[in-house]
């Protein structure tokens, strides 16, 4: 070109960014003044966008300075790209400042700010901003904004907020949009409503790799391994090629539903069938799968053969082996797994607690005590158990043994005691499977286990949520064996359904049994 002008420079910069060479775009921008070509709003937003892709906040800030210098600081397009760039570089303070200083905003600028909050784990701020947008602006939300808000609800696990957003989606006419539908399916699954999730998924006209993979993983987390496998076969029939993430989902499904042989077949054929090379994460799933089934020696042998690039990769692997060996009383493997974790400084608190618990199970109170002392010396603390329940638009949190801060505490305790008695009539023995950490008399053991956070949460839910609605409880740790038994019995006594999400998966309690088939 004889005399390239602003437009040609801008187009070239845009081209480089689109061709995944954003650093060239930034380089070109730096060359503009020397060539006496001045940027306009589009140039500036293009180069800011390039900085966004590079996640280079330093360069972004330099360009921001130019934005101010050239007087584009109130331009809608430039500001939206600045908000986006700061959001992607995790500088939410700057993003919000730019946003607040905007004289005029449109749906794109609001969406950039909401996305910034959502992607930086500030879901509540994202929802708050969406509420403000609905209040202040005449423009309707578009599909991008709505899917972002739905994703925020999913990450917070807030089903009610997700449903409110779903209503907006329907009313704004975006129910059939693929991106929104995928987000809705994911939200329902993450909030414990797999049925609704599947309902949304089945209505999608063109399910793609992402939606299938997401559903496979969701079904896995709900213990519905067969559903995962059906979806997997369906997607292959449709000609969609699974990726490493899809395989991770399907192996996780097999692991959590006891489908060991299917899982092994998948592991051994994934490379040949779809060119996916199994990596540490896949092997971890298989070790976990074998371990849960009690095939500890196979699991152990497999774990030993896996090459780890760094210690954090081994954390889940040896953690899985530790859990499984605890479950099946293999003290030898548990000891080695704990040792590995402690030495590699991964999941140290879990390792120490596990070792302590194993000694408890086998009656070695002294060994358990010495580990507890070691934990104190080293400064390791077990994360306290806590559960929470969402009722309408409030969240109620419960801590183990903490009755004083439990809302309607006396009523809850009375109900739990009453249920205890009814369970005992059916042969329930409290405290026998729960993991207790101190050497106490049998009766006190029963007292301690009975007040695990999920029990308090359940008691409160039974008196606060009307019959007919499923009770949903979220817990931060793995549900203990005793509470699991109790929940099964209670579900048949009171004739209600409960869904409990613990650190690993979802448990659906109904009519005296659990969807995990006691296999978690």
């Amino acid at each position: 070109m004889l005399e390239p002008n602003t437009i040609s420079w801008t187009s070239l910069m845009g081209g480089y960014t689109a061709a995944k060479q954003p650093s060239m775009a930034v380089w070109l921008f730096a060359k503009m003044p020397k060539n006496t070509v001045f940027p306009n709003a589009f140039t500036l937003s293009t180069v800011v966008n390039a900085c966004s892709v590079l996640a280079d906040v330093k360069a972004g800030k330099l360009v921001h300075a130019f934005v101010e210098l050239y007087g584009y600081h109130t331009n809608l397009i430039v500001c939206a790209s600045l908000v986006d760039m700061y959001g992607k570089s995790n500088d939410l303070g700057s993003a919000r400042r730019v946003f607040d200083l905007m004289v005029e905003r449109n749906v794109v600028s609001w969406t950039s700010m909401i996305v910034g909050y959502a992607q930086n784990a500030q879901g509540y701020e994202a929802l708050e901003l969406f509420k403000e947008f609905s209040r202040l602006e005449d423009d309707p939300p578009n599909q991008y904004m709505l899917s972002c808000v739905v994703n925020a609800c999913a990450s917070l696990g807030r089903l009610v907020y997700g449903k409110v957003t779903h209503a907006s989606v329907v009313k704004r006419g975006h129910e059939s949009n693929e991106v929104v539908a995928t987000a809705l399916a994911d939200m329902y699954a993450k909030c414990g409503c797999f049925e609704s999730s599947l309902k949304v998924f089945k209505r999608m006209l063109n399910s793609c790799l992402i939606s299938y993979t997401s559903m496979i993983m969701s079904a896995a987390k709900h213990g519905l391994g067969e559903v995962s496998l059906e979806l997997f076969e369906e997607m292959i029939l449709k000609g969609i090629t699974p990726t490493d993430v899809t395989y991770l989902g399907i192996l996780y499904a097999c692991s959590h539903s006891g489908l060991v042989d299917r899982g092994l077949v998948l592991l051994n054929s994934m490379q040949a069938e779809h060119g996916v090379v199994p990596d540490v994460k896949h092997y971890t799933c298989v070790v976990d799968m074998l371990g849960r089934r009690g095939r500890l020696d196979e699991a152990y042998r497999l774990a030993k053969t896996i090459e780890l690039r760094h210690d954090s990769e081994g954390a889940l692997l040896w953690g899985a082996l530790l859990s499984a060996s605890k479950l099946h009383g293999r003290l030898d493997i548990a000891a080695e797994a704990s040792k590995w974790l402690i030495e590699a400084k991964q999941q140290v608190d879990t390792a120490y607690v596990s070792m302590s618990n194993i000694h408890v199970l086998t009656g070695n109170w002294d060994d358990s005590q010495s580990i507890r002392s070691e934990m104190k010396r080293v400064g390791v603390r077990k994360e306290p158990g806590c559960s929470w329940v969402e009722i309408k638009d409030s969240v109620y949190v419960f801590y183990a043994r903490d009755v004083s801060s439990c809302p309607r505490g006396t009523e809850v305790l009375k109900l739990l005691k009453d249920l205890e008695n009814r369970m005992k009539e059916q042969g329930y023995v409290g405290g026998s499977k729960g993991l207790v950490f101190v050497d106490v008399e049998d009766e006190s053991k029963e007292e301690i286990v009975n007040l695990h956070s999920e029990r308090l949460a359940l008691g409160f839910s039974l008196i606060s949520i009307p019959k007919g609605e499923t009770i949903r409880i979220m817990k931060n740790l793995r549900m203990c064996g005793d509470c699991h038994e109790a929940f099964k019995l209670i579900s048949s006594i009171v004739e209600r359904d409960f869904v409990v999400r613990d650190v690993n998966r979802f448990h659906h309690f109904k009519n005296g049994s659990c969807s995990c088939k006691d296999y978690w």
């Binding site: 409110v164 209503a167 009313k171 006419g173 309902k199 009307p466 007919g468």
Partner: protein, 128 residues
């Protein structure tokens, strides 16, 4: 969470009805659907505060949370979702612009006077 969200206003999304049906027929289906839970068609007419029969098939029902769970179980009901204002400034649950047939500004505390106002609006707009 959003303005107007009080867990008494519910958006009831139904399965798309027979394409041959007229708008009035569809509204009749809505009334009959709600009547199955509430008891009578008269009651149902009073409790429906908005309908949509074109771009999506749904109606707004003013019922308790407990009744909303019963609605969910009906075979032609796809979703029962907490409703909120579409137009926050005017506090309405439906908006005229997007092909939605009519809207009924609902008072925050429903009483007989405002319900009667609603019935009149319903009758004037379409249900004759």
């Amino acid at each position: 969470m959003l303005e107007g969200c009080d867990f008494e206003h519910w958006l009831v999304v139904v399965e798309p009805p027979d394409p041959q049906l007229t708008r009035d027929d569809i509204i009749d289906v809505y009334i009959k659907t709600l009547a199955r839970i509430i008891g009578s068609e008269e009651e149902a007419r009073m409790k429906i505060y908005s309908v949509s029969t074109r771009h999506y098939f749904a109606f707004g029902a003013l019922v308790s949370e407990e009744l909303s769970y019963k609605l969910k179980e009906l075979p032609n009901v796809r979703w029962v979702l907490p409703d909120s204002y579409m137009d926050v400034k005017n506090k309405t649950y439906a908006v005229h612009k997007y092909g939605i047939n009519f809207s009924n500004p609902v008072p925050t505390k429903p009483n007989q006077k405002s319900l009667n106002k609603g019935i009149v609006a319903l009758e004037m707009k379409s249900l004759v």
